[in-house]
Subunit: 186 residues, 2 copies
Amino acid sequence: MRTDAAKNYNRIVDVARSVVAEHGVDASLRDIARQADVGFATLLRHFPTRDALLEALLRAGFDDLAAQATSADSSQDPALALAGWLREFVTCAARYRGVVELMTSALDDAESALHASCAAMRAAGGGLLARAQEAGAARSDLDATGLFALAGAAAWLHSQPALTEHADALAALITNVIFENQTKAA
Amino acid sequence: MRTDAAKNYNRIVDVARSVVAEHGVDASLRDIARQADVGFATLLRHFPTRDALLEALLRAGFDDLAAQATSADSSQDPALALAGWLREFVTCAARYRGVVELMTSALDDAESALHASCAAMRAAGGGLLARAQEAGAARSDLDATGLFALAGAAAWLHSQPALTEHADALAALITNVIFENQTKAA
DNA sequence: ACCTGAACACCGTTCAAGT
DNA sequence: ACCTGAACACCGTTCAAGT
């Protein structure tokens, strides 16, 4: 990449970060290009689709999540490792409005620019879940997708402006379900 | 209302039902007007805002929810009454994509055409919750908004196409939290 | 009273032309 | 190689004109 192109690329990403922070994942791409002092077609050249631009904003967080899961060695307490991962997941998924929906639909759409990193992240979480299940610290009727769904619901709650009041406590109620050891009969 | 106006009104609502079912709450209003064989400005005349049109689609369900809660007399088991209300809530909120977000933001925005019916519904659910709490059948650290938030998270999960696989079971895990009787110390 | 077309300012996409 | 303006088909809003 030429240095002038790199400069445009970085300026677009910087501006996108602040515009998406304000307007959510549906923010106007044209507006981002304007604020970045770049022709709109130039933005499209660097990021041919909305998902591609959002991927640039979110990839770092996703990679951290995957790394955090795989680096947790067997000496660490499985329940604590999973709990830390969940906290990070919610922070990451609630950063911008609409990210959770983006992630779940990206899992279903192999064409999305976000598919690979989301799938990797789900698999990594699944590994942490399996270890916690073996230790008897997590409910046994969950798989990686179930973990993702519950963590996503918690992140959704956390990302609703009208619910911020007690979002931390309420989201914790949801993630706590994961650690339930179901003993009572159905 | 003149009879020709009433005919237009009904045709718009009918078409909107099917278009919103397909495209979610962000469906194109212009497209709805076209399919209803009505000038776009006519649609705006009947429904000056998107919320006003969606309110026409959703009001019946909301009213049912409020009625269901107030009609539950004291002879009924409080836990069963609340459980039934929650089931209805999720069905209603997951009917179209985006409804849950619409409801939570309407609660925060007194100007929204949906504000009144959503607030009434939340209050009605709060009444059922209070009775269940008195009977010791629901956790005591929840209020009407907390109930709404958890039910909303369950409905969110239910409305994600990528999660339909086990949506019923996972959403039930979330709503079950409401009936937990927290006994262990913090 | 109620309906409607036209004008407007936006959006995302595409493409031919510029350095 | 990389950038850009212009044309296009959409969107929601407003308003002056029709019956």
